[in-house]
């Protein structure tokens, strides 16, 4: 029961700072930002900060196996309902537990925003790997990705598809569906 601690120490300011960092990361795909202040059982600090900042009782969440320790924590801090992959707005977990991408909502032509965002825990997050181009990237950027083929397939569905956030410790990088993934 005692693992309910670990919310933002200063909710208003930390929340605003985390929101700004997440916004920045999503607007500039592949850029690695640091989000601190949140600690949850079963989630990395960065993923916990994403949950505190973006999830509330109107945001259905899917918790993959391995992240289920965060269930009580998310209920206490965010009040999120828990659903399965096909209905979630946010999914938390490791890539092996979240993959494949097919069950998640990818939006519709009228409402491409009605799609899921995957918050994927990775072991390493470095600026090395496949070449990224697209909106928010001046020329090219590189980022270590868990499964290049699946993510390339997701990008090919644009303007539909899921958005991906990669978290490692307190670091976070985003890969929205608009980013085209080239070769390493």
């Amino acid at each position: 029961m005692n693992d309910l601690g670990g919310g933002f120490p200063d909710p208003a300011r930390d929340g605003a700072r985390a929101f700004r960092a997440i916004l920045d990361a999503m607007a500039r795909p592949g850029r690695i930002v640091t989000v601190e202040g949140a600690h949850a059982p079963g989630l990395s600090p960065a993923a916990a900060a994403v949950a505190l900042t973006l999830c509330d009782p109107d945001v259905p969440v899917y918790l993959a196996e391995g992240a289920s320790g965060a269930r009580a924590w998310l209920t206490f801090h965010c009040g999120t309902p828990f659903v399965d992959k096909a209905e979630c707005a946010f999914a938390f977990g490791r890539w092996d537990a979240l993959a494949p991408l097919t069950p998640y909502r990818i939006g519709t032509s009228e409402y491409p925003d009605r799609s899921a965002t995957l918050v994927v825990e990775v072991d390493t997050l470095t600026a090395e790997g496949p070449c990224l181009t697209g909106p928010g990237i001046a020329e090219t950027r590189h980022l270590s990705l868990p499964d290049v083929d699946a993510l390339r397939g997701n990008a090919a569905q644009f303007p539909l598809g899921v958005d991906v956030m990669l978290t490692c410790g307190d670091r976070l990088a985003c890969l929205p569906r608009s980013t085209r993934i080239g070769d390493a």
Partner: protein, 141 residues
């Protein structure tokens, strides 16, 4: 006493009295959720079908603390952060070994106070009661 009952007593308690009564029980607690003030939509039911309607918003302050392995939640009317922390502490203590003592020294006085206030108000209202009756009308005689 069920948890909902003591949470209800704590939520309605006058802030100063609640804080004063809880002072002797002050413990080292870990704050899970610092006191925060917000508004809550109070819903009610009326009419034959019992459909819910929004009665209005009220200001509520909430806090959560951990006392060892026990988690206490406090919700109080108004914007007193001290009262919210006191309510959370009392909730945590009520789930622990000190429950009987806390019940006798904090909850019973608050409950008695609430009952007394209700009785006084009911008595005042009863004093203004008007009985309506129909006089016997001529044609019925």
């Amino acid at each position: 006493m069920e948890r909902r009952e003591w949470l209800s007593i704590l939520a309605r308690a006058p802030h100063a009295r609640l804080s004063a009564l809880a002072t002797p029980f002050a413990r080292q607690v870990r704050t899970l959720r610092a006191p925060e003030t917000g508004s809550v939509m109070v819903r009610g039911r009326a009419g034959g079908t019992g459909a819910a309607f929004n009665l209005g918003e009220m200001t509520v302050t909430r806090a959560s603390v951990a006392l060892g392995d026990v988690v206490g939640h406090g919700h109080v009317q108004g914007r007193s952060k001290d009262a919210a922390m006191a309510a959370a502490l009392v909730d945590a203590l009520m789930q622990g070994p000190d429950a009987a003592k806390v019940r006798a020294e904090v909850l019973q006085p608050l409950k008695a106070m609430h009952t007394a206030a209700n009785t006084t108000r009911a008595a005042k209202a009863a004093a203004t009661k008007v009985d309506f009756f129909t006089l016997v009308r001529g044609e019925d005689a």
